[in-house]
């Protein structure tokens, strides 16, 4: 291998790559703009959905009159923004609900018709008042309410929530009044009170959010950063017929492969690094103001020690993804085929989600032995200030061993000139199967 040749080839690869739109978008722009765009889309979407759902009117049907003395409850329901009582608007002699008779002027529906309307989507919630059971009748004016709704319909669920909220508020007020009537101090009516307190600091909360985001998106971004360059520099070269041109230059095969490998890994590392930087900028500019508006106190910072761990993690992931993707893509004759062949490696990015993302556990020896998932978990721990050094070492050793395995496989594959020249018609798996079987050893270079 010749370092000068590697450098010349590497610069050539990088220069070409930075002029290719797909590579620039996937390896540079996407990592930079992922968070701002994602957050903007999330919050815009959330606001839009919230706005739309706020604007929906809930149609309420009554099947029984309100209990005596509870006309105020009906007033509250009627007065609540976004609620309408079915039939009320058509009632020529609609009157305010009287204190005594309640439901004066409020149309009542039979059980059957009310439920039919609910099922047909012509009503959102059916309200029925009951007498309380005997043990509840000691309290004058006590009653029960049943709300029937269609769980399969979003607006019906929303209508139930709205009515429930109104009833809840009304009940509390009524209870306070009743307590007063019975000479009980309103505060004294509570036998015991439940309260909860968050002991985590604003830094802890920030670290938790960062750990979740970084450990998952760093893996995705490094993989995405390697994906197009790996396919472009192998299958893409074949498709453009520049592969053979390269084979005739005065550099060793090892120099050529090394330059390509370093180039793909560089873009993977760059994508990961840009992503982390973009995350911090986005958090400062977008997330923090939003959380502060929502009354949350949160501080985003990570331990200094976590930075080298993140860098080592991103680099080892990049070298792994670069090697694995390049090997598989080398079997393709066109860019499109290459993309398809690389997909299995790309799906590895979900390993962290499956193995570590759903638990609150720290890195364990078992997870530290699983490529990709181990790096993700290692980064998550580091960001939250957990440094289990033996497991960090195990993670890096496992990842480097995987990289080495990929390179050995690449070296083996590159010995065969039918592969080298693109005349081998098949995937990596077929290649392994064919070459492992006796008598089909091809021509080794």
């Amino acid at each position: 291998m010749n370092l000068r040749s590697i450098w010349i080839l590497y610069v050539r690869e990088l220069r070409s790559a930075l002029r290719e739109r797909t590579i620039v978008v996937n390896s540079i722009l996407m990592p930079i703009f992922l968070y701002p765009v994602m957050l903007w889309v999330l919050f815009s979407g959330f606001n839009l959905v919230q706005g739309l759902s706020e604007g929906v009117t809930s149609r309420v049907i009554f099947t029984t009159p309100a209990p005596a003395g509870h006309g105020e409850l009906l007033d509250s329901i009627r007065a609540r923004e976004g609620m309408s009582i079915v039939g009320w608007e058509n009632l020529a002699n609609a009157r305010e609900v009287s204190e005594s008779g309640a439901l004066e002027g409020v149309p009542l529906f039979g059980e059957g018709e009310a439920l039919a309307r609910l099922r047909e989507g012509n009503a959102d919630v059916v309200v029925t008042f009951f007498e309380p059971p005997p043990e509840g009748q000691a309290l004058p004016g006590n009653f029960r309410v049943r709300l029937r709704y269609d769980r399969a319909e979003g607006r019906s669920v929303q209508a139930r929530d709205r009515v429930e909220a109104v009833v809840e508020v009304y009940r509390n007020l009524w209870m306070v009044r009743q307590a007063g009537t019975l000479g009980i101090d309103p505060e004294a009516r509570f036998q015991f009170a439940l309260s909860s307190e968050n002991v985590s600091s604003s830094q802890d909360l920030g670290a938790m959010v960062l750990a979740q985001l970084i450990s998952f998106f760093l893996v995705i971004m490094v993989a995405l950063g390697c994906f197009v360059p790996a396919v472009d520099t192998t299958a893409g070269e074949r498709e453009r017929s520049t592969w053979e041109t390269l084979m005739t230059v005065a550099a060793s095969r090892a120099s050529m492969v090394t330059a390509k490998y370093l180039y793909v890994a560089t873009l993977g590392i760059a994508a990961g690094a840009l992503n982390v930087v973009a995350l911090f900028i986005s958090i400062g500019a977008v997330i923090r103001p939003l959380l502060e508006d929502a009354g949350e106190s949160i501080t985003f910072s990570i331990p200094l020690k976590a930075i080298p761990i993140m860098m080592a993690g991103a680099a080892s992931l990049a070298f792994f993804f670069a090697a694995a993707m390049m090997i598989l893509a080398s079997f393709a004759r066109s860019f499109k085929d290459g993309q398809a062949m690389v997909q299995p490696v790309y799906w590895l990015i979900f390993l962290p989600f499956i193995l570590g993302g759903q638990t609150d556990r720290n890195l364990t020896p078992a997870i530290a032995s699983i490529p990709v998932a181990n790096v993700s978990m290692m980064i998550r721990d580091a960001v939250t200030g957990v440094f289990i050094w033996p497991l960090i070492a195990q993670t890096l050793i496992v990842t480097l061993a995987t990289v080495l395995l990929c390179l050995v496989a690449a070296r083996y594959v590159l010995r065969f000139e039918d592969f080298l020249l693109g005349s081998f018609d098949g995937s990596f798996w077929r290649f392994v199967r064919d070459r492992m079987s006796a008598g089909k050893n091809g021509t080794a270079y």
């Binding site: 050539r12 453009r240 084979m247 005739t248 230059v249 000139e417 089909k440 021509t443």
Partner: protein, 292 residues
């Protein structure tokens, strides 16, 4: 290595290439061919599609590894010193495209540097090539945006960017229009006149006739005949190269036992091997810089 005009710059002895094909089993793409070339000479490999021309040239350029025999370029063995061989030659073929996202100038710089042209002289060399091949007007344009004629010029310029003593042109006019094909032939002549050794393969008889100082007729991986056009005419009694080619091919296909001498001349077959060819083509003497 010092090379004089009488020393072959390319030496091929018993070169062989056998492929394994799933449906056909072992395929002898090149079956023990011999030839050599000297500076200032255009040596043409003439053969039909699939005759073994490209495989031979790919072995010489170290893209493929020979199964047997030997080949040396500027004294460097293609198996043991592949990088030195590649440094000594420029390879041009329809399957060696340019990097589309580099500019013409960057392309020339890249190929000069990677092929180990003295780094301090690269800028000067690029200027020289830009002027010589008329690339100046579009030197800053990306290759992907150039017309096929422009690309052809850049492609030839990149082949000679490191000023190699040996140049291989594998069917260089395939896919070119008449004017560009003529331009290609003109450039090859100029390079020959500068003292370069040129290996040229084609199945287009007129090109070979016009360009080559010596011709090797290759068929089914074997060298059927080799000599100057005049020599081949004399030996076959045919005037046109096409007829000469057909003469050898039909003879080989129809007569069993035709064998080739160590340097490619037709030899009588061994007794009992069937009819043999009586004629013998003397090995091409030094062609020097003479035109065919």
């Amino acid at each position: 290595m010092m090379t004089t005009e009488t020393t072959p710059t390319v030496q091929v002895e018993g070169l062989r290439k056998t492929f394994y094909d799933e449906s056909r089993g072992e395929v002898h793409a090149v079956d023990g061919i011999d030839f050599d070339c000297r500076p200032g000479e255009v040596f043409g490999l003439l053969g039909a599609n699939g005759a073994g021309k490209t495989t031979t040239l790919r072995m010489l350029s170290t893209v493929l590894r020979p199964t047997g025999g030997r080949a040396r370029v500027m004294g460097h063995d293609v198996v043991t010193e592949p990088e030195a061989v590649r440094e000594s030659l420029g390879f041009y073929s329809a399957s060696t495209a340019l990097y589309p996202r580099l500019t013409a100038r960057e392309t020339l710089e890249f190929f000069a540097r990677i092929n180990r042209y003295p780094p301090d002289r690269v800028p000067e060399r690029v200027e020289e090539l830009v002027d010589r091949f008329g690339i100046r007007e579009y030197e800053r344009g990306r290759v992907e945006k150039l017309s096929s004629g422009m690309k052809q010029k850049v492609s030839i310029a990149r082949t000679v960017a490191h000023d190699p003593p040996v140049l291989i042109f594998d069917e260089p006019t395939v896919g070119l229009d008449v004017l560009n094909a003529l331009e290609m032939v003109k450039v090859i002549r100029e390079l020959r006149d500068e003292g370069k050794t040129i290996l040229f393969s084609s199945h287009i008889m007129s090109e070979v006739e016009k360009l080559c100082d010596r011709i090797g007729v290759i068929h089914r991986g074997r060298m059927l005949a080799m000599g100057t056009l005049e020599e081949l005419r004399e030996l076959t009694g045919e005037h046109y190269l096409e007829d000469i080619f057909v003469h050898y091919v039909t003879r080989t296909e129809g007569v069993e036992g035709v064998e080739l001498g160590a340097m490619g001349e037709l030899e009588p077959a061994a007794p009992g091997d069937g009819e043999g060819a009586e004629e013998s083509i003397p090995q091409g003497a030094d062609a020097g810089g003479e035109e065919a």
